[in-house]
């Protein structure tokens, strides 16, 4: 296997004495480095996102590494001798989880109009107009585009044409800070060429998404629902300009509508359902929960292609991958006592960022994962939906999320993205080329915070970014 998967790695401890103390004393953590409580790992190398929760006992680690292997190895075209890993497609985006979640980290959009989508994808839908549509929205979040479904899959197995070739081009938008310094943002524009299954619906809604990092997902699942809902303020009754709405999504296991936590619009309730959805949508692998291939009625060859078993990923292997995705650790913060970091942290608060990027939670009990339960964590998210303004709007509702709303993404680990993934592209479609650009794209409920950042002088802006990079 590939070498660095076990957690040795070249990490070093900044203040060694504190760590073992935190292990024995979950009672929290005055140690602000421990973003994931006792699960926190101290690795600042390229492997920083790929380690198991630090407190995962040695007897619990085999499932992690088994899951990791299935996360990394390619799925192949059925039928194949590799019977447990066949069933790729017929239509798909990529053949491994890791292909998009590179090093368990963050994907990026194509950087120019000639580049393919490698770790990003395009979601599709049409407006819900009928009662039948409403039923689809209740169960799947969207009304799929009639010919192409709810996600564009540029690739097909031999004999099945990929759906289309997505391309991004960028338009430059200029702006200025109060101190006169100018900046340029890139606004992506999507085009779809080589449509192989007919015209797109005239009212098609599209949304470009990059793969999010995989760290700390189990901890987010372990945050008690009532704690999340306490922060919801859908009608902004407290008048702070920030609403915060929970998405309410369909749980396939429970066959009812529940709180959404995962995905750019919080459209999945659990790590398991999110992971199964990704197998099905991104790789064309059927799962227990998503038993149907992604073929629309006009995609006959797709429908006729041989499958790799029903489901193509067994419940047993799915469980291992889910275990892996649930226990990937959050790396510790760096430089927490640096005066510039502390200044940036204070600015982050005074600019109102923490109204949505909520720093601290105590997790509840997560069944089957004592390691993740009752941990003091610092994810910097409220897991709620917020109107982020016209600039970021994709105009594509998903369950109860509007076309202007996005879930507050967690910020833990964000300062290590460059080390792990070799880029600094942020936001749902990766349009921001660095953290400051990401901040400047905030609008809607975050407009007041953005205005404060525009008023900051250079040293303050730098401190804010230095703080974010310490996460």
């Amino acid at each position: 296997m590939i070498r660095h998967s076990l957690a040795i790695a070249g990490g070093f401890l900044l203040a060694p004495g504190l760590v073992s103390g935190a292990d024995n004393n979950p009672g929290p953590a005055t140690d602000s480095r421990l973003s994931g409580g006792a699960t926190t790992v101290f690795d600042t190398s390229r492997n920083a996102f790929s380690l198991p929760a630090k407190n995962l006992g040695i007897l619990r680690r085999d499932n992690f590494f088994i899951g990791n292997a299935f996360f990394k190895q390619p799925w192949v075209i059925a039928p194949a001798s590799t019977s447990a890993r066949d069933g790729l497609g017929p239509l798909f985006n990529t053949n491994t989880c890791q292909g998009c979640h590179v090093k368990d980290g963050r994907g990026q959009p194509p950087l120019s109009k000639d580049d393919d989508f490698l770790s990003a994808l395009v979601r599709l839908s049409v407006p819900a107009l009928t009662a039948e549509h409403d039923e689809l929205v209740l169960k799947t979040g969207v009304v799929p585009e009639p010919n192409y479904g709810d996600q564009l899959q540029p690739k097909g197995i031999p004999g099945v044409k990929g759906e289309a070739t997505p391309r991004l081009s960028y338009q430059q938008i200029s702006g200025q800070f109060a101190d006169g310094e100018t900046y340029t943002l890139l606004k992506p524009e999507l085009s779809l060429g080589g449509l192989n299954y007919g015209a797109l619906h005239k009212d098609v809604q599209t949304s470009v998404r990059v793969a999010p990092a995989m760290i700390g997902l189990g901890l987010l699942e372990a945050i008690p629902e009532d704690v999340i809902l306490q922060r919801a303020d859908p009608d902004d009754e407290d008048g702070d300009g920030i609403s915060g709405r929970p998405n309410r999504v369909w749980s396939i296991d429970q066959q009812q509508t529940v709180l959404g936590r995962f995905g750019w619009k919080a459209n999945q309730p659990t790590v398991k359902q999110q992971s199964e959805g990704a197998f099905n949508g991104d790789m064309g692998i059927t799962t227990v929960a998503f038993a149907e291939q992604n073929c629309t009625p006009v995609q006959e060859k797709c429908q006729q292609a041989p499958g790799g078993g029903q489901p193509e990923i067994s419940a047993e292997i799915m469980e291992k991958v889910t275990f892996y995705a649930t226990t990937l650790a959050v790396p510790a913060r760096r430089n927490v006592d640096d005066p510039v970091v502390l200044k940036g942290e204070q600015l982050f608060q005074s600019a109102g960022c923490t109204a949505c990027h909520v720093s601290e939670y105590k997790t509840g009990e997560l069944a089957g994962f004592p390691e993740l339960s009752n941990q003091l964590i610092r994810p910097y998210t409220d897991l709620l939906l917020h109107d982020m303004g016209e600039g970021l709007a994709d105009g594509r509702p998903d369950f109860q999320a509007s076309g202007r709303e996005w879930r507050t993404p967690p910020l833990w680990g964000i300062g290590l993205v460059e080390t792990v993934n070799g880029h600094t592209r942020f936001l749902h479609d990766g349009r921001a080329r660095n953290l400051l650009e990401a901040v400047l794209w905030h609008g809607g409920e975050a407009e007041a915070s953005r205005q404060q950042v525009l008023q900051m002088d250079k040293a303050e802006r730098d401190a804010l970014i230095v703080f974010l990079n310490s996460l």
Binding site: R3, I8, S20, N68, T82, G99
Partner: protein
Amino acid sequence: MIYLRRPVLSVALAGLLMSGFPAVAAEVSAKAVMETYTEIAHAAFSDSLATAKTLQGRVEALVDGPSEETMQAAREAWLAARVPYGQTEVYRFGNANVDDWEGKVNAWPLDEGLIDYVADSYEHEDGNEFAAENIIAGDEGINAELLQSSHEKGGSEANVATGYHAIEFLLWGQDLNKNPADTGSRTYTDFVRGEGCTNGNCDRRAKYLTEVTGLLVKDLQEMVADWEGGKDNYRKEFMALDENEALRRMLFGMGSLSLGELAGERINVALLAHSQEDEHSCFSDNTHVDIAENARGIQNTFNGTYTKVDGSKVEGPGLADLVAVKDEALSKKLIEQLNDSQQKAAMLVDAAEQGEHFDQQIVSGNETGNARVKAVIDALRTQTGSIEAVSGVLGIENLSPESSDSFGS
């Protein structure tokens, strides 16, 4: 297939003898156990180096005079080299110097199309733009620097350009399993220069093989130096560690290899996937040896014994003795469990030697083979439970990869 294999029995006897003399065990110090551990590391890496040098000589002979015989001799040397190396892998987890180094030496699985020609049916990691690069068919000068820079090229771990498995691919070729008993089917003619060269670029392929084998030797020299006594090196650093920290590294290495790596990723993944693509040494069908030797390395660490390739023994006070002072029953139990793992692995090895390679034992529907593989997994899991118990007895509270003083400040 011919290769050297440690006799299982001698190690088992050593374990029994040790537990028979509690009076000796009572005098055991942690420092002495650490000394044995480093001595065995030095011996096993030295054996790995020596066998790699033999391989290098055979590769030279193959490249200079390609023939059935020189090809076979090179393959046998590769197989022999895997025996001591497999026993060093227990040092990887717990010792950062080994773990950081290991990727260039033993990385797998690989997208072999990076290196050389592959069959049309070759599938690889999507988005790995170098998965079918075929360095050998390219025009960049082949030298050590090129190979090193191609390793993990483009950030993909599947781009393995160096180490044992890159050499394995060049000596065997893809195992397409047209016939279950087949290994990879590369012929010596792939190295014939001029007339008679098959699959093109034989001179570049020969150069690649020469360079990659040279790199392996060089890398192993580094690791031997890390464990040599009386030098300012990792061994010295290890011996200066707090005793508990040193024991933690030893036990974490044993436990990590035993369950997460060996039982989990190396065996269970292949079994769950029923797929040779998920086996360790897929080109040569040598995975059974990897499994048995990895497990033997764990046993070596606990018992404080190592049988060198030349048959001589390196022995000293082991963890087993140290544990016996505090909990003799537990020490005995783990010794027995380690023996049991060896026996279960030996059954897998025996089947493989009779032609039922690991990739056949894991295929869907081979219930006997699957059960044989499962028995190894179960034995490794059981012994890992005792490894954890042993840590508790020795006062190591948290058998985790990092401790407060693991890596200094």
